[in-house]
């Protein structure tokens, strides 16, 4: 086996340009697959991190009626915060959010929105509640930059807000935009306004009540409690995981195309090589190699393309990928345009597992593709091979 590797390496290097063309094409596949996977991994980890910081925290308790996909549930989706949780909120381990529907009239237009009340002193989420401290006779409101842009609102603007209290009575008031925050998480931005919790509770006639209780990132909570259902971070971030999974599947088509090109080149080279090197094959057999050893030699020769391409890919790929990992890749307005959690700049992350699996995948594929045409050698008549007479 050692001899076959030695001979195969020698033959491969000796083949010159043919080898290097294959190796270069295959090294592109290495780099693009690792880069693409790295971008998806980076996107996923950044998105989940952003969601944890802005929306999901370390898990949430939902009032048992609350269903984010059913707006009609909002009228009933509120309850008094249990004492233990209220104490957790006071300690800064939880943030309570009250959710209701409302309407704003920016610039004379009508816009349905979600009104969310959050405690101003919470540190669980990045919603800048501290801005609520400003003294204002109007209803103080925070909005995200998407909401501001979509409704052409800016800090200091006054907008009419209409809502229904717990009895279903319509009420309205002047709302002042006291701050605009920037986030990559559209779920806390688009179509929503944030008010101080106590203010909203007063407006709704629901003192001490909330819809959602957000746990601090590292708070170890898993169990539901009476009237409140616990939702884990994994569940809350499932949409992102599913989206990345879907992107990975669509990325697999790219890998398939890339690998097909590289494998086609290797397959073609193997076929041509076996055809052109019939005399050499016959000579190997005449000198005492078995046909299966020659099949092995040609298969190893083909699969060594992947080893050389991994080395070449490492030579130019490591600096390139490292540079991108440190500088990131810009996707300006990505989350705004697509409505998904996506940072303006994604920093790819490359794990050893990703690199290892990619190398293994390419090596196995290359070996199979190299073996397929090499099987023909086993059927060769050595006397005809020696004369180079096979077609």
């Amino acid at each position: 086996m050692k001899l076959l590797f030695k001979l195969a390496a020698r033959n491969l290097i000796g083949a010159g340009r043919r080898t290097w063309l294959n190796v270069i094409v295959l090294s592109f596949s290495f780099i693009i697959i690792i880069w693409h996977k790295g971008i998806l991994n980076g996107w996923e980890s950044q998105a989940k991190n952003d969601m944890t910081e802005w929306e999901t925290g370390g898990g949430q308790y939902w009032q048992s009626v609350y269903d984010p996909f059913d707006p009609f549930s909002l009228t009933e989706a509120h309850a008094a915060i249990p004492a233990a949780m209220d104490s957790s909120c006071a300690k800064g381990n939880m943030a309570s959010i009250l959710v209701t529907q409302g309407t704003i009239y920016p610039g004379g237009r009508i816009q349905s929105i979600l009104i969310k009340g959050i405690n101003s002193n919470q540190k669980v989420l990045k919603i800048p509640g501290a801005l609520f401290e400003s003294d204002s006779s109007e209803i103080p409101a925070l909005i995200g930059s998407r909401m501001a842009e979509d409704n052409r609102l800016k800090t200091g603007d006054l907008v009419t807000l209409r809502w229904r209290d717990k009895n279903g009575t319509f009420d309205a008031g002047e709302m002042k935009i006291i701050g605009i925050f920037k986030t990559n998480v559209p779920m806390v931005d688009a179509g929503q306004i944030w008010l101080p919790l106590d203010h909203l509770q007063k407006m709704m006639g629901m003192p001490g009540e909330a819809t959602i209780l957000v746990c601090k990132k590292d708070l170890k909570v898993t169990a539901s409690t009476a009237g409140w259902n616990f939702k884990s971070t994994e569940l809350l971030q499932k949409s992102v995981s599913d989206m990345i999974k879907m992107k990975s599947v669509s990325g697999a088509i790219l890998y398939l195309i890339l690998m097909s090109l590289a494998m086609l080149a290797i397959f073609d080279t193997q076929v041509l090589s076996i055809f052109r090197r019939q005399k050499e094959i016959g000579t190997y057999i005449a000198l005492g190699m078995t046909r299966f050893q020659v099949v092995g030699l040609f298969t190893i020769e083909g699969s060594l393309n992947s080893v050389l391409s991994a080395i070449l890919a490492a030579m130019y790929g490591i600096p390139l990928l490292a540079l991108q990992a440190s500088r990131g890749m810009s996707f300006p307005g990505g989350s705004k345009d697509f409505g998904i959690v996506m940072a303006d700049k994604i920093y790819p992350t490359y794990s050893l597992e990703l690199i290892g699996i990619t190398i293994l995948f390419i090596m196995i594929t290359t070996t199979i593709v190299s073996y397929l045409p090499s099987r023909r050698i086993a059927k060769m008549n050595p006397t005809e091979a020696l004369r180079g007479k096979l077609q």
Binding site: L3, G14, F292
Partner: protein, 232 residues
């Protein structure tokens, strides 16, 4: 030359199926070869010379009859046993040299020893000795593409002789060489035959080769037409 028989062929027939029907290349050959012979199988194209050499070299198998080489019946050997026979006891010299193009002269000659799993030191010594016999010590690092035809054939002889085989089978070894080179390599082979008592069997129709043979077997249409000891 001693009289011990190392090749024994009895009623050997070889037929090939071609598009035009069956073609009989060898038709009832009976021959014996002793150790240290310097023998040529001569005859026109298509007379069956190369087929006979291929069977003796276990590259092909008989359709009928027996070919016993160094005590082994060629028709009964499996692929691995044939390979082992060629690897350890047979040497081949081809008309078009068949050197491995990406290997240097040294590596080409070393190749049969690599298959025998010899250690580095022993291998190096044997390769250098072999190259010295053929006067190629100054070409050790050359590639086959840098050599003349005569030099290539000398490398091929060195490769065939390096493991000191019992039998060397040479198929038209001078066909691509000019007269001077032909005589040069033939003299080398005569010398190696004398020095190591290696059996040389040629397939040829070259008069220059015939002039060096000790025994000449003439084949016509797959049959032995004449088997004569020459005065060389």
């Amino acid at each position: 030359m001693d009289n011990s028989k190392i090749i024994s062929i009895e009623g050997l027939k070889k037929t090939f199926t071609t598009t035009g029907g069956k073609f009989t290349a060898l038709n009832g050959i009976n021959l014996e070869f002793g150790k240290g012979e310097f023998t040529g199988v001569v005859g026109p194209s298509g007379s069956g010379k190369t087929t006979l050499l291929n069977i003796i070299g276990s590259l092909d198998s008989p359709s009928e009859g027996k070919a016993i080489v160094l005590g082994k019946s060629i028709g009964e050997l499996n692929v691995k046993q044939s390979a082992m026979l060629r690897r350890s006891q047979l040497g081949f010299i081809f008309q078009s040299y068949n050197l491995l193009p990406v290997y240097t002269v040294f590596e080409n000659v070393e190749f049969p020893l690599l298959l025998l799993n010899m250690n580095d030191g022993q291998r190096k010594k044997m390769v250098l000795d072999s190259l010295e016999w053929l006067g190629l010590t100054d070409k050790i690092k050359s590639m086959p593409s840098q050599l003349s035809g005569g030099e290539c054939q000398r490398v091929a002889i060195a490769r065939a002789m390096v493991k000191k085989p019992e039998i060397v089978l040479a198929d038209e070894p001078t066909a691509n060489l000019d007269a001077a080179n032909s005589h040069h390599i033939l003299k080398s082979m005569v010398q190696l035959n004398k020095e190591f008592n290696t059996t040389f069997i040629f397939a040829t129709h070259d008069d220059k080769v015939i002039g060096y043979l000790h025994r000449k077997i003439s084949l016509v249409d797959g049959k032995v037409a004449k088997d004569e000891i020459t005065n060389n």
